[in-house]
């Protein structure tokens, strides 16, 4: 091996001594880059403008066969990479997309697992970014923008409001308590805020809310210390055709304790309308809109992450923004 190498460099030395330019291979290959600029640029260095100036590419002498071998090898590697990318695309793209492009209908169980891994990484990043002390920007009344009724299904019939109660379960006391809207409003102080609500779809609205702080509710009716999550649900939620479709959502208690996380009772200075989740909705500006449950009927504190309506439909679970 060593002998063979030597024969190469001998060959090059001979070639270069036969009158090729001074930037010959044997010199380069021995001295490496640090020196090469000196060797190649012994003339040019005088005029280069220093650190930022472009430097000539160090040239070496290479046998034609070596060059074509190296090129062939790298083209093959490149082709293999292109095939791998194609296979990766077939593996990762949604079935519906592949079908539309006329590709064979394939589904791997690992695909869901892999994409969910990526989603969990993004959730972990979001959780790392969260700080309980960092407040979200607030706005003035002149900056308020319209907020549409974004019930995913049909808007519930307002009949439920008169008999409405908030049930809180999973408390440290072991009791289950039930509060009506008058209890809530007399017992807790009301906080007003004008914040932005951001939807996973990309639109957002700046709205004026008022309500009690979730943190105050947690202090008044504390969960046991091992509880890390709240399951927030609305039993009055409907699907698109008007059938009952209870909405349930997971909320980490760290976010519930954020000073701007409200159980909102008022919108634009008026009690919530049925469109916006009368009589009590969650307003958690550090989360996507889909976590802002309307017409909450029950809050349960649990130790393990509870199920989440939209996470079961392919969206992320933490949804911190």
């Amino acid at each position: 091996m060593n002998d063979e190498k030597k024969s190469d460099s001998i060959q090059l030395e001979e070639v270069s001594s036969r009158g090729l330019p001074p930037l010959s291979a044997n010199h380069e290959s021995r001295t490496g880059e640090a020196d090469s600029s000196g060797a190649v640029g012994s003339v040019s260095l005088k005029k280069t403008q220093g650190f930022f100036a472009e430097r000539p590419l160090p040239a070496i002498e290479m046998a034609t066969r070596v060059l074509s071998h190296l090129t062939r090898r790298d083209v093959l590697v490149f082709g293999a990479g292109a095939l791998a990318a194609l296979a990766g695309a077939g593996f990762l793209l949604p079935q519906e997309t592949l079908r539309r492009w006329g590709a064979r209908n394939v589904n791997f169980p690992a695909k869901e697992w892999f994409l969910n891994r990526a989603l969990r990484i993004d959730d972990d990043v979001a959780e790392t970014l969260y700080s309980g002390n960092r407040r979200v920007p607030t706005y003035t009344k002149s900056q308020i923008t319209p907020l549409k009724n974004n019930y995913n299904g049909a808007t519930p019939d307002p009949g439920y409001i008169s008999g409405w109660n908030l049930t809180i379960d999973g408390l440290a006391s072991g009791l289950s308590i039930s509060l009506d809207i008058r209890n809530l409003l007399t017992r807790f102080s009301v906080q007003e805020q004008i914040t932005r609500l951001v939807c996973v779809e990309g639109w957002s609205a700046i709205a004026w809310w008022a309500g009690l702080r979730f943190d105050d509710l947690l202090r008044a009716f504390p969960p046991p210390s091992q509880a890390k999550w709240a399951r927030v649900e609305s039993s009055v939620n409907l699907d698109a055709s008007g059938n009952p479709d209870p909405y349930f959502m997971s909320l980490d208690l760290a976010t519930a304790r954020h000073p701007q996380t409200l159980l909102a009772t008022h919108f634009n200075g008026q009690p919530l309308t049925v469109d916006h989740g009368a009589p009590l909705r969650l307003l958690v500006p550090v989360k996507l809109g889909l976590k802002n449950v309307k017409a909450i009927t029950k809050i349960t504190y649990v130790a393990e992450e509870p199920r989440d309506y939209w996470a079961e439909r392919g969206y992320s679970r933490y949804d911190g923004i």
């Binding site: 190498k5 190469d8 190649v40 590419l57 949604p94 990309g202």
Partner: protein, 278 residues
């Protein structure tokens, strides 16, 4: 450096006889630059396709609801226009979805598109770091820096490109302007802009992904909604870059393409010019 001992790695080629002629070659692109360059192809495709699917959920460009269809989306209008005016598309089943069916993963798949977008976005940022590492390890970053004469040289190059088809038609000689540098001024501007656009895409992406924790970042771009618009138009930088980029690489020939696959170029005369004539 990898270019310093290419022959030492190739002991099998000792049969290269003493008589066989050699060529002068130079390593034009560092290994990491080449890898990250090609990885950008699937990653950017994934980002754009999933990005337009995400755009579908809440288009940036909207108008008042159309009285007949209720449509608000300009992209849907374009699809409808295409299906009305382009022969062969008249019977397309869902004209408002034409754009999304052909230029994205498809309409109505936000959850899937988001998951792919995050996957590609993290890959894109990692790949950008690899690219920058390659630029610095191979010294290639110096060739990308703007120069004082760039504006003038860019005009020369533009004049060359614009005049090229006419000169060909008139069978006149049309000489490529000579440069002693790795790239001409137009190339340099393009190759410098794309990584800058990459950084801006990542920054605006974070701004709209985490508009509360990183609200200062959204503020840099004029707020949450403006950051979305930035993010949308930055996509067009890549699209507008890629089209001439691919055409010109093929026009320039095999050596240029090989230098991005294998790294080697045999066009080393220019570097000699730098070394000897300056």
């Amino acid at each position: 450096m990898s270019h310093s001992t290419p022959l030492g790695c190739e002991p099998n080629f000792t049969s290269t006889s003493l008589e066989e002629p050699g060529v002068l070659v130079a390593k034009r692109h560092h290994l990491l630059v080449r890898w990250s360059h090609w990885l950008n192809v699937p990653i950017l495709l994934g980002l754009i396709l999933s990005g337009i699917s995400i755009y579908w959920a809440s288009p940036v460009y909207q108008h008042k609801p159309d009285p007949n269809t209720g449509n608000v989306d300009v992209a849907a209008d374009i699809g409808i226009w295409l299906c009305t005016h382009v022969p062969g598309l008249h019977h397309y089943v869902s004209p408002p979805d034409w754009i999304y069916n052909h230029l994205s993963l498809g309409p109505g798949m936000l959850a899937l598109a988001l998951r792919l977008h995050w996957l590609c976005a993290y890959s894109f940022m990692l790949n950008g770091v690899v690219y920058l590492a390659g630029l610095f390890m191979g010294g290639g970053w110096r060739s990308l820096l703007p120069r004082r004469a760039d504006l003038f040289d860019a005009v020369r190059m533009l004049r060359y490109y614009l005049g090229f088809p006419f000169a060909k038609l008139g069978r006149r000689k049309w000489l490529h302007p000579r440069f002693n540098t790795k790239y001409n001024a137009l190339q340099r501007a393009a190759y410098f802009s794309v990584p800058v656009a990459g950084c801006l895409s990542a920054a605006t992406g974070w701004a709209i992904h985490k508009p509360m924790q990183l609200h200062w970042l959204a503020g840099l771009f004029g707020g949450y909604d403006a950051a979305r618009v930035w993010h949308f138009w930055l996509m067009w930088v890549y699209i507008l870059f890629v089209v001439p980029h691919v055409i010109l690489v093929f026009a320039d020939g095999w050596d240029t393409l090989r230098s991005m696959i294998a790294g080697w170029t045999t066009r080393v005369k220019r570097s000699k010019v730098i070394a000897n004539e300056r």
